[in-house]
Symmetry: C2
Subunit: 275 residues, 2 copies
């Protein structure tokens, strides 16, 4: 899904919501445990109840890996069920020397090799361009680079200052030279609204993937105030607040209600730029 | 395996070699492809031919993930075959917000959850202590933090300068406050011998995991000159130069010959400190 297609979906659905499939088998409704692949069943029902109101799904690789072989199978199965009108993002935060990153890219982008071909992957910047290039080399795929994360200890290193500004600014400025904004997105936490202005100074047009809404405390209004661009430029992610809205039989309907609340707010924000 | 046990193995085997199992199914001898799990068969034979001469094995997660479900099965099978007198390191370079890193830790440390329980994992520092703590919380496990990597573009960010020195120095100084040297190791590339003196200034006693020997061009002599401590303090990794020494029937024996060359050099270095 290229940038124009993504923007079309955002405009059509009046939503720039990404739903994080951080599916923990110990937190899903108990009645699903009778299914052959309970995590897949959960994800299918969440997707079924929400796909008209969001533009992206983001399975979090860790939650699948934690269950070993069964979890990896759930991840492959889940990838197959993400609708084509939604961007499929694997949240993997990978990054290693070139020949190793090539293997990670195959793992998530090359269906023939691994059984999965996500539209986008999150990657970590610490090892520099060598570690990112193999992902960029795949055509028609997005690379989403960690810039400023939503967790408290993002300050440990991301907010350290060098002659060039904060480390996260160095990352964004350097990454701007690696690929264009039709190929590269940046992760900026919803809890970092103070820094959104700085981010938008360096990356006025890039799509930002913004986690940290809901359970982590970020505010959609604040994110939009500083983050929205003329074609939206935001994918705002929520995970736990949606997928665990209820753990009863009606969990998918309750998830939809949460999504509707967010989507309505998003429609208002989008009206400001698209009208 | 705790620090004392690791040092005992080093002293007993006169080796501080870690063998990287970056096993690429397209590069292994063709006759192995008839086996049910060719990558496992390859790794078993490499391990069988070398385990008396090295103290650690380090499967590189990317090479297994790239093959999807079959690859994940090979990784689990390989973990089971790493001998107990060798440190088992999963080279995964993970790191995410706390609840996600907890899942990554389960994936590689919690056998009940995932089928694997490595002794150690490599992790990435960018997201700070929140992203590392869940790994540290596992008892009797090592956490090996990226500090200064062997690839060319490590300079993109790791060598940027802030008021505190280079970023890699900030990482090491901060990480020193997170855990002791009986729990935490640092990754320092063998191609970074100039910076070894700085690293040893900040981390005089930590074990360093040193990749980049062989295919990447690092020198064992140089690494030892600046890196050796009174109980060794080094795990030097080689991967491709050993495991792909030959792709004939005799690949395991040829791998052993390569290992012997390195081990003899290591024995000379160790004699200087242990004698």
């Amino acid at each position: 899904m290229n940038r124009q297609q993504l923007t079309e979906q955002i405009n059509r659905k009046k939503s720039f919501l990404c739903i994080g499939l951080d599916t923990d088998i110990t937190l899903i409704p108990k009645f699903l445990l009778d299914h052959e692949d309970p995590v897949l069943e959960f994800n299918k029902r969440i997707i079924g109840a929400t796909h008209d109101l969001c533009v992206a799904y983001k399975p979090n690789s860790a939650f699948y890996e934690s269950r070993g072989l069964a979890g990896w199978q759930s991840l492959i199965n889940t990838w197959k069920h993400i609708p084509k009108d939604c961007l499929s993002i694997i949240d993997a935060k990978r990054g290693d020397i070139g020949n190793t990153s090539t293997m990670y890219a195959k793992a998530f982008f090359d269906k023939t090799a691994s059984g999965m071909s996500f539209d986008a992957i999150t990657v970590a910047p610490y090892m520099g361009i060598d570690s990112i290039q193999p992902f960029l080399d795949f055509e028609n795929k997005w690379v989403i680079l960690l810039v400023l994360t939503s967790n408290n200890s993002s300050k440990d290193f991301q907010l350290t200052e060098n002659t060039d500004g904060h480390l996260f600014e160095t990352v964004i400025k350097k990454a701007n030279t690696w690929a264009d904004d039709d190929k590269l997105m940046y992760v900026v936490g919803a809890t970092r609204t103070e820094e959104f202005k700085i981010i938008r100074k360096h990356a006025p047009n890039h799509f930002l993937l913004v986690p940290g809404l809901g359970a982590q405390g970020g505010s959609l209004r604040e994110v939009c105030k500083y983050g929205l661009t003329k074609d939206c430029g935001l994918l705002v992610n929520a995970s736990r607040s949606i997928i665990y809205a209820s753990n009863g039989e009606n969990f998918a309907q309750e998830a939809r209600k949460e999504v509707l609340k967010i989507q309505k707010e998003m429609a208002i924000e989008l009206n400001r730029i698209f009208s």
